[in-house]
Structures are given as structure tokens and as C-alpha cells.
Amino acid sequence: MSADATRRVRLLYFAWVREKIGLATEDVDLPPDVATVEALVAWLKQRGEGYDEAFARPQVVRAALDKVHVKPSAAIGAAREIAFFPPVTGG
């Protein structure tokens, strides 16, 4: 895979992030310059009003790469599944 090829990943949204975006899951082609979780958030915010609302306070939204919690600065690397969700409230 060349450095500037897009790469297909699956995005998952949960709870109010899902409701604001209006989707539970979607497959997207990641542009080559979107290398971190926070870069992906910035890119998603430009895709429409729902996304913009969901990430209005980006520090509130949590992320997981291939089902492992990560910080916004985390490199997406080879992850196939990227999830966004509010702080958890189970238990």
C-alpha cells in the first residue's frame, strides 16, 4: 500500500454519537493524511451537520481502535475498526 493510498476502515458510533450522526456503522476510505484519531474526528466533522454536532465537544467523545480504548492522539495505524462513543455509563 503506497503512502498516499486511501484505506477502507469501518466506523462504529454508539449512544448519542450514533443518534446525532444517524448511523450505527459505515465504511469509509481514509485519506492518507488522516493518521490519528483526532485527525479523523476533524475530517468527519466536515462531512455534515450530524457529524459536526456529534463532535461539537471532541474531547467528550471517546474512541476505540479495534476494540481497545485509545487517546485522541493515537495513530490509527493498521486498525480496521474505529469506534466513537460518549463516556461509558454501564454498571
Binding site: 462504529l12 460518549p86 461509558v88 454501564g90 454498571g91
Partner: protein, 150 residues
């Protein structure tokens, strides 16, 4: 050690028996049961809907259990979380920690709940008596509780 996510209710005695029945090396069993309250700080709750991130919940709960097993001398651990639509008085979550001695069992059960509350990907939506729905907000005190164990 064992983790489970299910829509069905659970029975405290049956789960405890399944986990440690017949063992002669367990001296202390602590269980925690979390239930839906009919009143959340003054707001009447008619139903609570539990959403989760399938596979990640189990993976995260297994990681939490693994951490507890490393910290305390536990003989058995169970974490069981319900999902779907629940009503006031219903069971939500069950944690069981079994050890030779009581302090390990108490601390581990408390740790498991603190970590479950801040790391396992579950989200609660409350529907009030008036039909309006709202996502439950995470509480800072849950983060503080989890931070005790660092």
C-alpha cells in the same frame, strides 16, 4: 474467570453456585448486584435501555478481570452485564469475587465495579414516566473511584 453480556435476568444463588459450587478452598464470596432505580435524582424512570459495543464489552471485561486476578489472590471471578430494555427494580449487573480471605474479595469486587463503570462500553438511556428519553451522563465520581486503584 468469566464474563457475560446477556438480555436475560440472572439469579444470584445460581451464578454463585455455578462459579464456586463444590470448591473447598473458597472462604469469602463478595457479590455486587446493580439494579435500576425508579428514581434517578428526582426524575422518575420507567425504563432504562442498555446499549453496548458487542465484542469490545466482553474483551474489556476480560481485561478488567485479568487485572483483578493479577492484583488479588482470587479463586473465581464473574462479571455479568445485562443489555436491552430494563425497568425499575430490574437487575443490571452482577460481579462476584471469591477468595480465601474476605479483604481480597471485598477489594476485588469494588475494583471490578469501578473499572466496569469507567471502561466497559455500555451506555444507559433513561425513559421517564412522561415518555421523554435522555442518555445518562457519566459521573466524575466514577472516574475518581476508578483512580483510587492506580
Amino acid at each position: 474467570m468469566s464474563v457475560r453480556v446477556q438480555t436475560e435476568d440472572f439469579d444470584l444463588s445460581a451464578e454463585t453456585e455455578k462459579l464456586i459450587g463444590g470448591r473447598r478452598d473458597v472462604g469469602a464470596i463478595v457479590t455486587f448486584t446493580g439494579k435500576v432505580r425508579g428514581d434517578d435524582d428526582g426524575r422518575e424512570v420507567s425504563t432504562l435501555t442498555l446499549e453496548h459495543y458487542p465484542e469490545m464489552t466482553e474483551a474489556e471485561m476480560a481485561r478488567i478481570e485479568q487485572e483483578a486476578m493479577q492484583r488479588w489472590p482470587l479463586q473465581a471471578v464473574l462479571m455479568l452485564h445485562r443489555v436491552g430494555e430494563l425497568k425499575a427494580g430490574d437487575n443490571i449487573v452482577l460481579v462476584i469475587a471469591a477468595s480465601a480471605h474476605r479483604q481480597a474479595a471485598f477489594e476485588a469486587a469494588s475494583f471490578l465495579m469501578d473499572y466496569l463503570k469507567t471502561r466497559a462500553p455500555f451506555w444507559k438511556k433513561e425513559t421517564g414516566a412522561d415518555g421523554s428519553s435522555t442518555w445518562v451522563e457519566a459521573r466524575a465520581e466514577d472516574d475518581d473511584a476508578a483512580d483510587r486503584w492506580r
